[in-house]
Point group: C3
Chain length 347, copies 3
């Protein structure tokens, strides 16, 4: 465990942290979970205020942060980015509608003890990476920890919750086959943050991590390299395949989820190509997690999803409502994991 290096830190991506720092977060999260189960007060951050700045909708993230900080003795302020002078980076400002992001970050740092941000997709015109750039810009200007509540690259709080859930259900992850798979959905407007964070986290613990997706849905090369490096350093393996059935064969964990093709998203000077995106999606409607593909996995294979889930597309009701589904545990662990992150970074 590394216990002294987290104070005052931003929490933007799992891959920004060492394995020992992640272990400290997990250990704290499990302890706080038990304290709540026993009804023991744990006001570690009395009268601390955090800001939840949302450019996008949320159910789990908002409510797990609001309840979690309350358990710690503090208070969360939900900020819809359109209900304030919308924080905008230099060059995208509009008089009396937006406010320079640096000013927002500096002002909020005077009032509260952390700034949490969610931004991806429409608010940054689907330019891949611009959501993360906003989060990093907040972190650069803020004098308090900035916590990423999901951008277009990373969802580190989900990553912690997913690690907690796998450790709770499986004990050690060493040698376990963990499959992160693409799945079809009629909605293309999603970030690639969840598979990135799952790869970064699960590759730290000696698992056999498999990434499965149709051709065209390749993830970020730096994130692939990070997962491969982790596998080399900590044991286990990291492989990529375009065969869903082969990937599921003998799996201990499957995490099938839709994400868009990065290639067809917008980039600086390049519009998003939604027609090509649609065509690629339409060609891969068979990527659904159902009884047929699950029959290749181990009998007690865990089914995971971050929710919300597009039922009937990404997964059948039988699987997500079945005995191996741990989706509500993942959702619950969001709260415990985030409490740990806050307690360690904001103290």
């Amino acid at each position: 465990m590394q216990t002294t290096s987290l104070k005052g830190r931003d929490f933007i991506a799992i891959s920004d942290f060492t394995k020992e720092e992640i272990e400290t977060i997990l250990a704290t999260a499990f302890e706080l979970k038990l304290k709540r189960a026993r009804g023991e007060a744990h006001h570690l951050l009395p009268d601390n205020n955090i800001f939840l700045m949302f450019y996008n909708k949320s159910l789990r993230t908002r409510n797990s942060f609001e309840t979690g900080i309350r358990h710690l003795g503090g208070h969360a302020i939900y900020l819809d980015s359109n209900a304030v002078y919308t924080p905008a980076i230099e060059g995208k400002e509009q008089a009396f509608v937006t406010e320079r992001l640096d000013d927002v970050a500096k002002v909020l740092s005077r009032y509260g003890e952390a700034i949490c941000i969610r931004i991806f997709g429409d608010p940054v015109s689907w330019v891949h990476g611009d959501g993360n750039a906003y989060v990093r810009a907040f972190a650069a200007s803020a004098d308090v920890p900035v916590i990423n509540m999901e951008d277009d690259m990373y969802h580190p709080c989900q990553g912690i919750a997913d690690l907690m859930t796998m450790h709770e259900k499986l004990g050690s992850l060493a040698g376990r086959k963990i499959v992160i798979s693409w799945a079809y959905s009629p909605s293309r407007k999603k970030p690639v943050s969840v598979p990135h964070s799952m790869m970064a986290g699960s590759s730290l613990f000696g698992a056999e991590v498999v990434l499965a997706h149709p051709k065209g849905f390749e993830l970020d090369p730096a994130q692939l390299a990070n997962a491969a490096a982790n596998a080399k350093r900590y044991g286990g393996s990291f492989t990529v395949t375009d065969d869903m059935q082969a990937a599921f064969k003998g799996a201990d964990v499957v995490y099938p989820k839709c994400w868009p093709s990065i290639e067809f998203m917008a980039a600086p000077g390049k519009d998003a190509d939604w027609a090509a995106q649609d065509a690629l999606f339409d060609a891969n409607k068979g990527w659904i997690c159902d009884d047929a593909v699950m029959s290749f996995a181990k009998e007690d294979c865990l089914y995971m999803h971050c929710l919300p889930c597009d039922r009937g597309y990404e997964v059948t009701d039988e699987i997500i409502d079945g005995p191996n589904s741990v989706v509500y545990d993942q959702a619950e662990n969001r709260m415990h994991g985030q409490k740990a992150v806050m307690a360690l970074t904001m103290r």
Copy 2:
């Protein structure tokens, strides 16, 4: 008093509870009201979080729940149903816009200690009963108490506040003439929840309950039967009339309020008939609570209304701002009553 049967219960309709359970809620509410008057802390639900899921606007309900849970040591999270992935029942889902209601209920149950819901009218396309069906669906999936903040059938928190107010002002209700009357308003888009809850509550305590409305504004047969059965069991009477003046004659309490004709509302497979609704309303513009009709009531007859009130239509300013009006006391008692409901069901 029945004191052991409330823990963990949902609070959806007054008629779901025995008279002794309602008495336990009232006794608790009065005690908490006195504690606040004396400035005594009463943190009965420390660090408990509740969710306020609103599909419709609110002033009193939201603010009385938010302040009330704070007095109890907890915290309320205000959720506009459009600011989250809107909870939708199976068959009404839309990828990445809605989320299955069961999933929402199960996830929120992991984070907080109660889920409160308001839903009627536009969000359920004015299909009579669908609002209540949503509340019951939440209750079926949630692992924590579900509290009805008003649906298209019931407003039980208003029912408790109204009982508190009558008991405070009149002492015993036995033998008192209590008139629940229709009144005209230019707005037809309201639920029938308040008269239903007032009938269910006031009929438990031996009063002479009179329901007055023009022909065409009949209330739910099951609610009428419930009020009649209560009157038979607990003394008093329950009668229905279409004569406003006769109803007001000798009244101790009048509660004149607009509600729509159930007949002309939508039903499964049947659209709402707003033209017929309008015509029925227009034919009954004379149903206003003014000095003329109040002259038939007792001199100290209480004037009640749940607010917001359509002044100049449902009632004249003279009456609602006059000495016999108890509308602000009713509004205040919302808070105390709801604190009692939370303290008893969430403990």
Copy 3:
């Protein structure tokens, strides 16, 4: 210090209070600021709830009130005026959309311990003074203190924060040259509240107060008279000029900020004349706070602004991001000043 006269008072304009009352607020604010710096709990208003009724956007005001009341042991409820039945004065009501303002004020007084309001501009159709009339109407009906979070005439919380900041940086204000200056912005839709409140506050402490603006941007005659009377009573001076450079010459403090011409705003029976407003603005684009005009001021002259700031128009980045800028201190002092106002009026 006058310490006994603040309990239960409304806080609507600086000019409603004596110099000694303002001193009591400032002294309390500085003490609470130190307590927070030392991490000392100061729950002066335990379980008190305040309502933040916003008809307009806000970043600083909302967040400084929400965090501040939390430090005092209480809780703030953020109310978007459109998310409730919008409080409307008599004659502007609409059935089931608005609710009479008096009723809202009386009901909220039953639930919480203060009502805070922001209203100017669009919600009152830019009729100059109608925002303040709404705030005064709330105060007339409410049974708890009403705090002005900015109307079209006054921003007293900003006034307190500005006084705190000047006292912190300069010690005594006696003999200091304080310049309140107009500045250009492409946005005309702002209130005149900040210069009014700055004039009312700074003229109490013996400073040489200078108001500078192009012809056509005259402020309210009663506010000018108040500043002149203060200068006469407490020493110092109050002068008005249309020469920005002359005003800045030898200044200890400059506060350049855009405000609209009152003459071209709407009034009862008279529409706003936006074309004339635009022409007047366009004729005065040279009123920017840049290195050139700042070279006339003292070398350590403070640059002040209430934020949000229209960078590149009201001020250059060099000045607002430079060493003499105290804008983030002003923003922080909002929180401490408001805590003092709450602690003194709500106790």
